[in-house]
Symmetry: C2
Subunit: 223 residues, 2 copies
Amino acid sequence: MFTDHSIYLFIYLFIYFIHNNAMHCAQVVYGEDVAILAGDALLSDSFKHVALNTKGVSPERVLDVIVRLGASVGPKGLAGGQVMDLECEGRGDQSTVTQEDLAWIHTHKTAALLQVAVASGAILGGATPEEVEACEKYALNIGLAFQVADDILDVTQSTEELGKTAGKDVTADKTTYVKLLGLDGARAEAERLTKEAKEALTPFGDRATPLLALADYIIARKN
Amino acid sequence: MFTDHSIYLFIYLFIYFIHNNAMHCAQVVYGEDVAILAGDALLSDSFKHVALNTKGVSPERVLDVIVRLGASVGPKGLAGGQVMDLECEGRGDQSTVTQEDLAWIHTHKTAALLQVAVASGAILGGATPEEVEACEKYALNIGLAFQVADDILDVTQSTEELGKTAGKDVTADKTTYVKLLGLDGARAEAERLTKEAKEALTPFGDRATPLLALADYIIARKN
């Protein structure tokens, strides 16, 4: 199941992170217009890349991956999650932002990208539909756990340890898991999500060891 | 060759025009952030749409189309053409903008989209590589002819006839085919490009009639 094709998924995720971060850099260096065009070019090139360079896999499976990649950016993916995030940030009264809102945002903004990356690897590696579904459940849960861990680190780590400004969620009065559940509640939620993620991989036995380690890393990390 | 699949190409072009125009509208109505996200969502959804809904065609051909769609937006397509256009517009001395620059801009900004739309229709309809190439030559030439005709209309039509502000290229001191070649020179260039476009379709005989009519329309249109 874990084949050379995983390299494409890293490329895919890399392009996304580059896309988001490059947008901000490019806006500063080249101005808004060119930054938007660069984003469109990178996004389109990633579809071209997958369609052109995925060798040794049936074209049906490559198309399946492209459908999922396309969906992961749209209204039920990254774009939808980001818009909801902006909408919630903009609310004057942050107490109206619920845990359900938060889960929706992070499921679409972060977890959907992990979901499509892991599912694509499974599909290209020849997984059955049931195996793909198990991988997706794993990815959605670690995606949410990643965000809960981020919220915890923001209040427990120093700026130096974190490698980015600590406490900025509090400063910005942003609704986080820590704010909604308290520090202990957020830690319990991260544990619960990680446990669910790992349980989804039970059918794979030892073959899932790298993914299980990744799940543990997500909540154990210090920055 | 001309099958139901052409509907996807219209959808594709439609999405592009919507994308460009919607960006400006969305920026006004929803702000910059949401407009960029909407653009990304539309762009990704168009790849998903082609991968998911192209029925009755071999998956190899669908992947070929996706590779071309992806390339048509990148640095050698729409984004590259737009950036070069901004670069040339920004030059203080417009006399440094050559006909070669102009052809490069419009080949990538406009003609590349027509090229991929026409080539995709041919590929999905079962065309041979030689037939696809002939269609591409046709499309690139009508794409450029379209732009030359636009430059001519800008100076020969009234705002009322044009349905948009006439003479705005002159007001903006923008380099156009009319400025470089004169009105008669630009008309001759449009004729030459249309002739080349139509000659590329000779092998198709009568089957190419709709595309030949489209080529004539492009330079005969009044707005």
